[in-house]
């Protein structure tokens, strides 16, 4: 278990390794910065930057067809971009795991983030994903492992929402 409040990403990385995740699709978010860097540095993983999050949903489906496990890293605003593509996951019953850094929940400076942030959980649930939220940095590793197990052993579509209190407060200097 990682030792301080901002090292929880290391527990997600450890869970990705333990579950043999090979493709890491992402559209960047500040909260995922260190994890994305670690995935790029890992020779056993391919980290794929996408122009929109829905590409990542399709990419992971193709990875599974080829026998590889992958995950999607994104922020809550990206969930809205994925909705129709998630029908691919449901129709074909592809395993699916996403880790979503949340906006619009906790000391949000930017009101333009709030609508999608507040809509993230119901949108994912309506699209057929099992949704869990983690707020305690000490619990991130266990929740990440359970998310990956639910996807790749249980064959489900699943999302772990990383509560905004896990990431530093963004204030644009104000």
């Amino acid at each position: 278990m990682a030792g301080n409040q901002t090292d929880w990403w290391k527990d997600i990385y450890k869970a990705l390794k333990e579950h043999d995740v090979r493709q890491v699709a992402y559209v960047p978010d500040a909260g995922h910065t260190d994890l994305i860097d670690a995935c790029h540095d890992d020779n056993e993983m391919t980290a794929i930057v996408h122009t929109t999050e829905e590409e990542g949903v399709a990419l992971l489906s193709g990875a599974w067809l080829g026998g590889a496990r992958g995950v999607l890293l994104m922020q809550s605003s990206g969930v809205g971009n994925c909705i129709n593509m998630l029908s691919l996951i449901q129709t074909c019953r592809f395993p699916f795991a996403t880790f979503v850094t949340m906006r619009g929940q906790w000391h949000e400076f930017n009101p333009w983030q709030t609508h999608m942030g507040q809509g993230t959980e119901p949108a994912l649930a309506n699209a057929g994903c099992i949704v869990e939220t983690v707020e305690d940095p000490e619990d991130v590793g266990a929740q990440a492992s359970a998310t990956l197990h639910r996807a790749f052993v249980g064959g489900q579509a699943t999302a772990l929402l990383l509560h905004q209190r896990l990431v530093p407060i963004k204030s644009f200097g104000k």
Partner: protein, 203 residues
């Protein structure tokens, strides 16, 4: 203004192009087809376990094929899709260029129409040039095929030249019969994985 006449006079026929690509690629080729007409074209060429036809997920054909190509670097992957489907996922060409998979080829069957919805013109009937977009994104082997001779040159590139490869194939806007592949997504997934990965693929 959209040019609604020219595509009716393109010399290449999509069903013939699909048949020739499937034959040139052989039994080991992994094929992903985008929703709509390319599904029917490749089903007419012969339904097979190692073809994954998308019945939805518009804009997803190229990124899905990219994930497959990265997962199976020792196997050739061909994605065949339409101009409308490609336009919805245009950003994925930038994504492909970054990953530069040597085993991925993209063929866009471009009839300059949304074929399933009433043959409305797509952006390629106006001014959009998909091959130029692919080149601009950084896919170095990209071009547009308009004639029989150009097709004969492009087919070997699509099935064996180190990728990523991107060709727009201008095909005639023509009415054709629906030749439908299976549409049960779980079945399509499982038959593909069993054929590619063996029995373990469906356990």
């Amino acid at each position: 203004m959209a040019n609604m006449q020219r595509a009716e006079n393109f010399p290449l026929h999509r069903r013939d192009v699909a048949k020739r690509l499937a034959e040139a690629g052989g039994a080991d080729l992994l094929i992903v087809t985008g929703l709509g007409s390319t599904n029917w074209d490749f089903t007419a060429a012969g339904d097979r376990d190692l073809t994954f036809p998308l019945w939805g997920a518009m804009g997803g054909a190229v990124p899905l094929a990219l994930g497959l190509a990265l997962a199976k670097p020792d196997r050739r992957v061909l994605v065949a899709t339409g101009d409308g489907e490609m336009l919805m996922g245009l950003g994925s060409l930038a994504t492909v260029a970054i990953q530069a998979p040597h085993n991925l080829a993209i063929a866009v069957f471009d009839n300059e129409r949304y074929g399933e919805t009433g043959m409305q013109p797509t952006a390629t009937a106006y001014s959009a040039d998909l091959a130029a977009a692919a080149l601009a994104c950084g896919i170095e082997t990209a071009g547009t095929v308009r004639t029989e001779d150009e097709l004969t040159e492009a087919i070997p590139d699509l099935v064996e030249k180190p990728g990523p490869i991107f060709y727009v194939i201008k095909v005639q806007a023509e009415p054709l019969d629906f030749i439908l592949p299976p549409k049960d997504g779980v079945y399509l997934k499982n038959r593909f994985r069993r054929a590619l990965l063996g029995t373990d693929g469906i356990l």
